[in-house]
Symmetry: D2
Subunit: 474 residues, 4 copies
């Protein structure tokens, strides 16, 4: 078969570097590098070994400009002037004073002078999903998403001098706080009990007397990083002399083993029932008399037999558990949640996004007619842009290319493909980031190869190694 011993598809492919000079070389590698940059000088390996989901990491970098290209208060002002920012949907105005947390949101559009008036009166501003309004944030988050294989979001927090904007609380996401300007004093507290470690949901506002002593009490200055796992309680206050603005990058919201089992087990039972007579046999006539809370202290033979049988069936269930299908359901959900990739000029010129036919004002007609050829080198436009899910009559290809930067604004995007064509997509997934020619696609028949390739091309999912050749003279 066409896989080698390590499970990799053996195909005649060429790396992007050798045939293409610029653009994203490997989106997954790019994701890794961006994550490295974010936590540098810590290595990824040591971070995941020592801190991830375990304990906070405070990183004093002494390089105030390190994150400055990401976002700033001036950018926030610009966004307020130029975009339709709505209270609650895009912006929260908050305060925390004398133990009282308040939200001051009005209704409708947030006009800059009104917002700044609140700020001048001591209110904090939280800009939700800044990726919708600022491309560097979009770019950062998309890259991290390629690395984490989980949705990455962000909020920006601006706090005026001498104030605190939020009550102590914990969140349900892994949090990376990148300080952009100014200074803020943070106190971070351990989860109060094992039940509150790595929680599924965020907490209510907590009061000062129920959170104990901080395990971290530090000052974040421009360029510094603070990471803490979900469940860690935190609060922060600014100095009297300077404001603070930071961006919190979040990920791994409800992305746990338990969530995986919630998808896996109901399907496992369905499959076991379809395939294994033992699961379809009737319950014993007395099961309602030996089981149930009123019988839980009994030690009857019927009860023991029932419990043994259930345990036996639960073991047997492993034979039917659709481990891959459950992962694919996660993957398809990620395609719905995900930020779309941010395409560069190279991506566009070598794909349907901007390559090919266009209107020529001078000639008043369409020019630059192009066509895919059997020997055109193609690859997926990004490593994680699609997910294939097996169905009875074919496969569904989910993708995130047409998502907007606003979370879940679009319905899940997918199209269907026959089982015969699916290996072509599989090959493109496995060979990424290398390019392969259309004629190399593991599909029967030259016409079929072209059909699959054209379908992916017209949806913008594949990119050629070079802009396609102009055929206007043909």
């Amino acid at each position: 078969d066409s896989y080698d011993s390590s499970g990799t598809l053996k195909l005649d492919s060429v790396s992007g570097e050798s045939i293409r000079a610029a653009g994203v070389l490997d989106s997954r590698e790019e994701g890794r590098k961006v994550f490295q940059w974010m936590i540098a000088p810590h290595s990824e390996a040591s971070f995941f070994r020592d801190y991830w989901e375990k304990k906070p990491l405070y990183l004093k970098r002494n390089t105030p400009d390190y994150y400055k290209n990401l976002f700033s208060t001036s950018i926030l002002d610009k966004i307020l002037h130029e975009e339709k920012i709505h209270y609650t949907k895009n912006l929260d105005v908050t305060s925390y004073s004398e133990g009282k947390r308040q939200t001051h949101n009005l209704v409708g559009q947030a006009h800059p002078s009104v917002v700044w008036d609140y700020y001048n009166n001591g209110c904090s501003l939280r800009l939700l999903n800044p990726q919708t309004f600022h491309r560097p944030v979009w770019k950062l988050l998309y890259n991290l998403q390629e690395h984490f294989n989980s949705f990455c979001g962000a909020n920006v927090y601006l706090t005026p001098p001498g104030t605190q904007g939020f009550a102590p609380h914990w969140d349900d996401i892994e949090a990376f706080l990148l300080q952009l300007e100014g200074r803020k004093h943070w106190k971070v507290y351990k989860p109060r009990s094992e039940e509150e470690e790595l929680p599924e949901f965020s907490s209510e506002n907590l009061s000062q007397d129920e959170i104990g002593e901080p395990v971290l009490d530090i000052t974040l200055e421009a360029g510094d990083l603070l990471y803490f796992p979900r469940g860690y309680i935190h609060q922060a206050v600014t100095d009297e002399d300077v404001h603070s603005i930071h961006i919190t990058v979040s990920t791994y919201q409800r992305n746990s083993w338990g969530q995986y089992l919630q998808k896996l087990l109901p399907r496992a039972v369905d499959l076991a029932m379809a395939e294994d007579l033992e699961f379809r046999k009737g319950l014993p006539l007395d099961h309602l008399r030996v089981m149930g809370v009123v019988n839980s202290d009994m030690e009857t033979p019927g009860r023991s037999a029932f419990l043994s049988k259930v345990k036996e069936l639960m073991e047997r269930l492993l034979l039917y558990a659709p481990f891959d299908a459950a992962a694919d359901q996660f993957g398809a959900n990620l395609m719905h949640d995900a930020l779309p990739p941010l395409l560069g000029p190279e991506d566009k010129m070598c794909s349907v996004h901007s390559g090919g036919e266009r209107w020529c004002k001078k000639k008043q007609k369409v020019i630059n007619r192009v066509e895919l050829d059997p020997d055109t080198y193609i690859r997926l436009i990004r490593g994680n842009v699609i997910r294939m899910v097996a169905e009875e009559d074919g496969v569904k290809i989910f993708h995130c290319l047409e998502n907007t930067r606003e979370y879940h604004q679009e319905d899940p995007q997918f199209f269907e493909m026959s089982h015969e064509h699916a290996p072509a997509v599989e090959a493109l997934i496995h060979t990424y980031p290398k390019y392969i020619t259309v004629e190399t696609l593991p599909v029967e028949g030259d016409d079929e190869k072209m059909t699959v390739a054209r379908g992916l091309w017209e949806r913008g999912l594949v990119v050629a190694a070079h802009p396609l050749e102009n055929r206007d003279d043909d």
Copy 2:
């Protein structure tokens, strides 16, 4: 504690027999007897060992009157004249001829002369849920339900001479066919494959050429019984000289181990996630790259590690699986599905259903004032009339007493009770069919004992050993 070694609650109780002369003595015992009568001379033990869910049982009884009190064509005629029978909801008019199965139902009410006209023209009649219209069927099914601990339903089939009313097919229930009048030739076929054994759902109509050879080819005459498990294909035809009417008693529809696991496992994961940190930990960053249908042929370390971890967690899940709560959910569902008990004059006079205060036409006032006393002997009105389900703040008592004879016409009936009062209900469940005094209920405080007892009394769920004493002179 108050349970003895066999798990039985030790309470001062007296059997019904010693203090009460008539009425239902033990509804569960009654259920068993009725089932015995139905399959006699087969013993219950041999039936469940050799036939139940395994193979058909044909029983030639040579006692034409054996089932005759259950139902008859004359009863059907009476019902058509006196009740509002609706096509499709209550009655189907069908035919099967030259391989073609047809339904001839009109819209709205089925008037007798129209129905008999169809019958005269060779159509079969199927009366759905005859228990709604005829008390002997209600009584039979209620009793069987006490025995099977699963909903028991019925249909009546009347077929004119020389015809067949239905195409070959299989059903999703255990079927007991009791021949009432006339004669019918049955052919029964094994499930065609293991996948079709004990199926979850009934089949479409099948054609003669896809069902093979019958394993049973017999004639059912009045008084005879035919049982076959779900999944067995069957068809029947009447002789030219005589019609056939039989009643099919059904049970164990979707009452399998698989259904139990479908209730158990999602709750098990929820509980495991709440209680065990391992289930809340994040999935590995690479899980979407090593798992999924496109990676299913790979043998990578990440994939092996992932699969090992899932299997470990599935074993660990057993520690959190709420075996009793899942059974109670089954029990609560049964209370919704169940036929209500048919109460006799004894039941009524010794309970709120007819005992106590009533209007005296002569005196033009309410007479026969009664009250429960601490030494009043009470028990549940039937063994399986309630199901207790534990909730966070107390318990829910589901019951079937106010259901109608029509399936699911009422919403689930339940009321709430504090954890402190729950042991009283537990005691009543465990001591049934014996009676115990109100003052014996395992609840703190005499007033509390009376409160619980009165609550159950006013809902008609308990019955006293004797009619309560008239206190009109007090």
Copy 3:
């Protein structure tokens, strides 16, 4: 054409009296007589001239048994013992004491001894829709419905000695109170203002200090009648020595000219727009500047022109108003609201309800085969049992025959008929209560006549003058 000068269809028809000896002769005439009996010795004419929708009528009859066959406290006791009576749906337990109105309803089924215990403690009982449980009430209300051409409902009120069950209030229906047993003192008050005369909706509970002085202060004894129009405030109290039970018959709920216009006018505009260009022309460009609340004090030419044009169009609207279709919508709604007719043995034997084919236990086969003939005399089973509504492609025949005695338990019942067959139904409506032969139906073709007649016959909507002839020998 086939109508004479008074608009009556000229058909060869015979009155029921001449060809049939018993049963309902004319349901509308029967309705009139029952109403006469109810208000006797007042004449219908004087009642409608002097009291209806105008003022209360108090009628001291000195005949305690006059209404006694309708209902009694003993009947109520019997219903509580034999039927499933539910709190709130069927029964309210209420009290009014020291200005405070309370409802004491429990949840679920109302058991007699519990209900009587409340009664003994001073609570009033209100049985809702007694027609569902007691045939004489059903019969009364069905007859009144034939007379009023509007839904007639009822409640029964039982009040223990020395109490009041309800706060002063007004209702949204015309109320006829028929005293059945005992005695009750009533105070009736005029509506407090013109706005509260003949109101659309019932009032909240009122306090004693906001209702003024009664216009009627009387004692109702068994056999007496009290009528008052909707909007009249009322309250009542029993003597210390005797209880009171009465039935309130209600009608004309939201059955006003305004309701008619609400149905008429939107359809009138739709039709005018379809047929008359003036209604489709655009509004003037300035209409939003000359009209509207901020412009209501202006006197501009644009505003005057706009108002003149609207008034002109409203007059013109009369040309398109579908007066008959709006009435038919009322009629179709009545068929949904209506009680079904109570059929007597004569009705049943001469119709599909019980006439024709039946099962003979002795012969074990269907006997009494019958058929409609061209010369069979038929008529509608009741005068007001159907309503014909014209649609584009045919007519819809709404009827109330399959309604249950519970309000709106069934969906609207109707069937469709071609325009060609509609005149047959029209003829049956116009000739009622006379009988006509099938062959007289104004439909082209003998087969078509039979088809229409059989369709109505099979639905039970027509009745023959005599039971159809037995053709078993044919």
Copy 4:
């Protein structure tokens, strides 16, 4: 009172011209001018007198550049490259050939080279709502909306040489076709009957043999205008040598007298019922017997009386018809439908949209603190940006300021105001386009004047005559 004889509020106000040098002077006047420009050299008066809703107007202008700044094929190409254009939602790809009309839309995003490939193969492109993607179109339509007081929309049609993109059909809107480039031959046909004049809904595709002879057969070249009323059938074809692109401006969709009556009459009946006893009186007992389709040929006294009464009530209804409230409902709907105004730098600097507080990057703090003063001159930001609707407890102010350019993407925008504050808004509406000082607002109390003014200011609905004064030194 404060209105003069012409209904105009007398207020101390100053025209914009005297105190402000630039920006929109009067949005309604601007609207009129833009409409004039569009139909020039025709005058508005003659257009509305001779053509509007009456007949087509063909205007050969011989000025190819007249409309060229509105839109072009190059702009379309740019939009396809830079915006997320979706098939069906934003773009239709169509063809009409040999009597067959086809739509070739794919699913999802429309990539330029795919779209141009369709075009090259003879397909027409229709860009829906170009105002969303191109500001000059937005500006044109907003201005026309101020003039028509009705929603104005647009589509752009690009047709390749030698083709036709659509079948003959009529639309439900008044259509103004502005030719942008190239050339197209149009045939326009009269409505086929009076029923099809000024229709409420658009037609299906028509065939060539059911449309008769054109009343207009002309060639539209760049700069030319073609107007025709809704209901006029039309079709067009391009020459072999040149493409055609035009924009169709549409308005007055379902904006007719009939639509007004549909809003007016149901409310009129409600009010009449509340205020006039005649409307609450019951219908006559016999109304269902004298009215209805089966009685429509009758001439009975009951029927005549019924009809007279209805007619009398319909006249009486005029007394209660809420002419202004119905217009305000139209106005409020328009605020939902409407395009938002396109604000210029002047508008922004003199309002909350950009005036006042902003972030100073240099000082790293908020600067330019401003405040409204009693003597600040203000006016509405546009003439038709708000609509006031009277409610029981106050007024609702609907506005279109926060709508997006996409139709109905936002819910209706409104806020509530007390009856006491409403005259301030009324005054701003009536004095527009003049400015008035805050202290002149007809509201009791200086604080209240400021409260109302600030509320409108913070929502961006009013604009000051000059940027507010910087108070950073205070």
